[in-house]
């Protein structure tokens, strides 16, 4: 589903991502952990085609993000670490905008908006301008917009930040649901308990380099993910 091969990205003289390779298969929830500035966001942004990179290749469903970015973007959805959405739009207008761009038919989008908005208890607020939304509401709207066109792969940067416990629970369920249908999720998080319970596979990045990856069992063995992470960070 997502194949990152030898990804390298520098900002000036700083090496943000160093020869990183990752393979994410259909049905997998893949967690991406690392300390602040480790290169998680750069990797995610490169994978969704909004950050150029110096070397390596990224393939989405076999298509290179470099050579055919539009074909790749049609298959994916992205939620950034901060849900900066168009504040001049109302919630429903934003969702319709996204649905138009992804070509979601009118009836299907109406049903999906109604379904997801009801799940996140956002229906009553859809007419409100996004500028009046709280951070959590914006995050919910960003999640709905990501799921709206039924993507094969969803990339999320810290998706649980700002969500209330119920919405976080719902999101985890939706992530599993999508993967059970053959989709895949690649997301970064600092909440190691969530990663440990939710992810099928996990990758740990430090100073731009992938220091460990694999199934949860392979990465953590008998220890907790927190212990392994802290140990690796200390090395």
């Amino acid at each position: 589903m997502l194949r990152i091969e030898h990804l390298t990205k520098t900002f000036g003289e700083k090496l943000a991502v160093d020869d990183l390779s990752l393979h994410i298969a259909p049905g997998e929830i893949y967690g991406f952990i690392g300390h602040n500035g480790a290169g998680k966001t750069t990797t995610l942004r490169s994978a969704v085609g909004i950050q150029s990179f110096d070397a390596g290749e990224i393939f989405i469903c076999g298509t290179s993000i470099k050579t055919d970015p539009l074909a790749c973007k049609r298959q994916i959805a992205y939620i950034p670490d901060n849900p900066d959405l168009y504040e001049f739009m109302s919630g429903v207008k934003y969702l319709n905008f996204i649905a138009d761009v992804f070509g979601v038919p009118a009836e299907l989008r109406a049903a999906r908006i109604a379904d997801y908005a009801a799940r996140f208890e956002l229906t009553d607020d859809l007419g409100q301008p996004i500028s009046a939304y709280s951070h959590g509401m914006k995050q919910k709207l960003a999640i709905i917009s990501a799921w709206l066109h039924d993507p094969k792969l969803i990339l999320m940067d810290e998706p649980f930040v700002g969500l209330d416990p119920k919405a976080a629970f719902l999101l985890k369920g939706m992530m599993r649901e999508l993967c059970d249908r053959g989709g895949a999720i690649f997301f970064s998080t600092h909440v190691l308990e969530v990663a440990e319970k939710l992810c099928d596979k996990v990758a740990i990045i430090k100073q731009g380099r992938l220091i460990r990856s694999g199934t949860m069992e392979e990465v953590k063995g008998d220890d907790s993910l927190e212990e392994v992470f802290l140990e690796l960070e200390a090395d």
Binding site: G49, A99, G103, G127
Partner: protein, 532 residues
């Protein structure tokens, strides 16, 4: 504390002069100096030159008639009007809607310090616009009269008092807009309407003032003493520039008093207005089936949504949408008289009137500049169009299209009215119609191109890209300069091949420029956009 805030405010206002956001590093000294020199030349050269010429025509007759105070009163009034015109629109946004208001208010910073820092931006804007009138006026006066220390001091005091007075009036109007906005749903539109009323008032006063000035100069011996006797305030205000000590003392006290009152008023209400969410009444959502649109249409709607959501954006970049039909109507009513007047002056140069009308249309065609800040206005939302499965060119095209959709209908109407009034031969009529259209297309494409090259996505106040950015300045003043060059070159050289061929040459130049910009935007623009 205040020093730190002022430093931050200065850094925000002048960031584009010192920092290259594209390269994410400070500009070179030469680059910074070049930027500042260009801006000063544009402001001082164009606006300052116009008002300098006006000062020259007024100063000698009034000073010789012993009414130097009236000269300063007149130029001061124009300075106040222009200063207010330039700063009033930024007051509400700059003071109450700055994105870092919440952050600053959450810190242990006195409200007064935040207000002071915010007002600095408003003050500089007002100072800049009032200075382009009053500084040339002062220079002309000091050249005209024999030098005296009192006059020099008076002139300096006058410049200072005017700038503080403009700030006071701007703040009061900004406060009124803020008070109204808190209670209204459609704030942008109300702000636009208030601003339009203000603009109408400005032009009404301006034209009235021109007639009044002519009348005053013609009858200065009668009006001068009468005003001095019956409107003592005006006399004292004007006499500040002459170095009248009483005038200076009284006016300084008066300006300080009203500024103090305004400061108190703002201080009392700043917190509640700056933190007002404005979401007084919740918009009830009723689900309804939306029509499916193409991605291009969705992007175009989004651009129009962005425009209509911001009073600043509409007022600063789309006002010509309303002015063009007004121009068309004015052409129909006053056109024949204008043709007659122009023919009597430039009749010796064949086709000059046609070229001058083409110039007017071209100027009008470039006055909408929604495209110039449109890339920067994406701000933190830039990730959305970048991550969508749409060709970047389609995103950029929607920005160009908004400007053209707003401009072309009014422009076509103005062209038709122009043709009806001028009734040129077909050979002249066609390029007269084509050239303004080419201008409109060229400047819409140029706006997006420049904003791509000089995008500022890290603004905290939307006025930075809308009003204070390099692309907007270049597009607006560049349009006027190019249109002026169209007339200037023709009148100076009077080319033997005639107006039609001349207009065709310009149109071809604009069309070629448009094609080059279009090709660049299609081929390279997308890459640049994706790397922002």
């Amino acid at each position: 504390m205040v020093k730190t805030l002022l430093k931050k405010q200065f850094a925000e206002i002048f960031r584009s002069y010192f920092y290259d956001t594209k390269k994410n590093r400070a500009r070179s000294k030469a680059g910074t100096i070049a930027y500042i020199v260009l801006f000063v030349l544009l402001m001082a050269g164009m606006l300052g030159g116009t008002f300098g010429a006006m000062a020259f025509s007024l100063c000698s007759p009034l000073v010789e008639a012993g009414a130097g105070w009236l000269y300063f009163a007149l130029m001061g009034a124009i300075a106040i009007l222009l200063g207010l015109f330039g700063s009033v629109f930024s007051t509400y946004t700059g003071l109450y809607l700055a994105k870092d208001n919440d952050l600053l208010l959450s810190m242990p910073i006195p409200t007064g310090a935040i207000m002071l820092a915010r007002l600095l931006g408003v003050y500089l804007m007002g100072l800049m616009y009032s200075a382009v009138v009053i500084v040339p006026a002062v220079v002309v006066y000091l050249i005209t009269v024999p030098f005296s220390g009192a006059a020099l001091l008076g002139c300096l005091v006058l410049i200072l008092l005017l700038s503080v007075f403009v700030l006071t009036l701007s703040c009061l109007l900004g406060w009124v807009v803020a008070k109204i906005s808190v209670k209204l749903k459609n704030k942008s539109m109300v702000t636009v309407l208030i601003a339009l009323a203000f603009i109408a008032l400005y032009y009404f006063c301006y034209f009235k003032a021109m007639n009044l000035i002519r009348e005053l100069i013609a009858n200065i011996a009668v009006y001068g003493p009468a005003i001095r006797e019956k409107a003592c305030g005006i006399y004292l205000f004007g006499s500040v520039g002459e170095g009248n000590w009483i005038g200076m003392a009284v006016c300084t006290a008066a300006v300080a008093l009203i500024f103090g009152l305004m400061w108190k008023l703002l201080g009392r209400t700043f917190l509640s207005l700056a933190t007002a969410t404005g979401a007084a009444e919740k918009v009830k959502y009723t689900a309804r089936r939306e029509k499916q649109r193409s991605a291009a249409s969705a992007l175009l709607r989004k651009e129009f949504g962005r425009l209509s959501s911001s009073a600043n954006y509409m007022l600063n970049c789309a006002l010509s949408t309303l002015l063009l039909p007004i121009l068309a109507a004015v052409l129909l009513v006053k056109g024949p008289a204008v043709v007659e007047a122009l023919s009597s002056v430039f009749g010796g140069i064949g086709g000059a009137v046609t070229v001058l009308f083409a110039t007017a249309l071209c100027m009008a065609a470039t006055m909408n500049d929604t495209a110039a800040p449109s890339v920067s206005l994406e701000g933190k939302n830039i990730w959305i169009p970048q991550s969508l499965p749409v060709e970047p060119w389609i995103v950029l095209r929607s920005k160009v299209l908004v400007q053209l959709i707003l401009t072309l209908p009014g422009l076509l109407l103005a062209i038709v009215c122009c043709l009806l009034v001028l009734r040129p031969a077909t050979a002249e009529a066609v390029p007269l119609a084509v050239l303004p259209l080419c201008f409109a297309v060229f400047f819409a494409l140029l706006g997006v191109t420049l904003d791509l090259k000089r995008a500022n996505l890290k603004w905290t106040n939307e006025l930075a890209p809308i009003k204070q950015s390099f692309p907007v300045t270049v597009v607006l003043l560049g349009g006027w300069f190019l249109a002026a060059a169209l007339a200037g070159v023709y009148l100076l050289l009077a080319p033997p091949f005639g107006a039609a061929a001349y207009l065709w040459c310009f149109a071809a130049l604009m069309a070629a420029g448009s094609l080059a910009l279009y090709l660049w935007l299609r081929r390279k623009g997308g890459t640049v956009f994706m790397e922002l």
